[in-house]
Symmetry: C2
Subunit: 279 residues, 2 copies
């Protein structure tokens, strides 16, 4: 037995007790590893960064999917950028209105490894409503116009292969790829340890979308243990959430209270994400 | 430079990059250490467990003080059990109605070390409204009846010197030490890694108080990064929060949105803290 440690910016580290390495490979894009752990179920890392553990992945996947889908009036076509582990797809498929979920993951090996070794997360990718695309998310979005009701940007950190997914040009392409009434959700990093990144991302989002609403929640195996996500749209706001559809979902994190409470921001996060005051 | 690691139940670990040891001593009760860190300001540990860092202590101290004080109709006399670092006292003193804060800390050395090395947290203990008592919290509470409007149980983990602060007999003594209309707040551990403890504590609290309301929030340097606290009373509920008093506070975490949002519990926490269903 040993410890897996992910140091973050030489400030903090997440430690997870592991029982053994289940799988390791270097794909064309990154190093993929799956571990068995003592208290976290299976652990997936990419280039030494925790992507998910079976203990806590439900928080991230609940917030990044059920919020935009319940805020949208009638989500039928949904795109997931990244999210090769299949956790976002699993949650999106709980919504009866959804006719198709397109997954656009850069690295096919991530998906294949998760299908084989983490079926609790990836086990819904063979659903007939799911279309798998192994392609660059930036290019895929650029090639689509008015094609999706909801787009979920389920990306890794802005360092590395996902850097392009945090820039204004990408957000503008997302907006163009949405049908009228469309909503996006994106992960937007740690408010404790990545304050500058959080501030930048919200400035970029606000320069593209009329409505930008940050929310937050716990992810114990990510640096700082608390994460932020953005909901963005030109027409839809969290206040428009369909309470009947939200109440019908069976989730480990999301419920009607969370649908409001996740947007109740503490002052130190407000300072990062609120629009800059006019000078 | 080195890393400070706190393993927790051989499942998870919190890592904090340290620049040096500022102070170390063994008191009559425990080993007290203060470190300088790279990104967390000063770090206080007791018996190798993180008690606070200057980066994130505001979350814990805001939630454990401003919620009960704003829920109480007119808090004048406040007791803090534990809390030798002075952070809870600092926040309680922000409330103009408070005439006296009694701090009952078992280990005087914790307070003296914090006054010397972490003045950003302990710097308000010389306020004339503060009365310091270095005594056992269980005995101190037992010796008081109808004496306090709010009692804050700002304790360390249930293993070690603070074990008695998580038991039914202590909660019954707390209830007797409250004046009519009184409210208590207590830290109630990690919902991710101490599920059984959380469940036990809420069962005990519900067997003593008519109103028991759990809330949660982020503490990145505690195991799991998310913590729970209980508000308990016979007469007061979070819905009775004084919005004008809450809005007048200047805090880094607490605000009117949080006063509601902190009680919006995800399903996996509800399952731990809700009353057991009748059979």
């Amino acid at each position: 037995m040993d410890w897996y440690y992910e140091p973050y910016k030489e400030i903090t580290a997440v430690g997870i007790r592991i029982e053994g390495l289940v799988h390791a490979e270097r794909s064309a894009y990154q190093e993929i590893k799956v571990y068995d752990t003592v208290g976290h179920g299976r652990l997936l890392t990419l280039d030494g960064m925790v992507m998910l553990t079976e203990l806590d992945e439900f928080v991230y996947h609940d917030l990044i999917t059920h919020l935009p889908l319940c805020i949208h009036a009638d989500p039928r076509r949904v795109l997931v950028i990244g999210g090769g582990d299949g956790g976002s797809v699993r949650e999106i498929l709980k919504h009866p209105s959804v006719e198709q979920v397109v997954l656009c993951e850069l690295d096919e090996r991530v998906t294949r490894v998760c299908q084989r070794y983490i079926p609790s997360v990836a086990g819904h990718l063979e659903d007939p409503r799911v279309a798998l695309n192994f392609a660059d998310g930036v290019e895929f979005v650029r090639a689509h116009e008015a094609a999706f009701d909801v787009i979920v940007v389920d990306s890794s950190e802005p360092e590395g292969p996902a850097a392009g997914l945090f820039r204004r040009a990408f957000f503008a392409d997302l907006r163009r790829a949405l049908r009228p009434g469309g909503v996006i959700a994106a992960q937007t990093e740690s408010p404790f340890y990545s304050a500058a990144t959080v501030r930048d991302v919200y400035n970029e989002l606000r320069s593209v979308f009329r409505e930008v609403h940050p929310c937050f929640g716990p992810v114990p195996t990510y640096p700082g243990g608390t994460w932020t996500w953005a909901l963005a749209s030109d027409t839809r706001t969290p206040a428009m959430l369909d309470r009947a559809r939200a109440a019908a979902l069976r989730c480990r994190y999301f419920n009607l209270d969370i649908a409001a409470g996740a947007f109740a921001l503490p002052n130190f996060i407000r300072e990062l994400v609120d629009p800059a005051p006019a000078r």
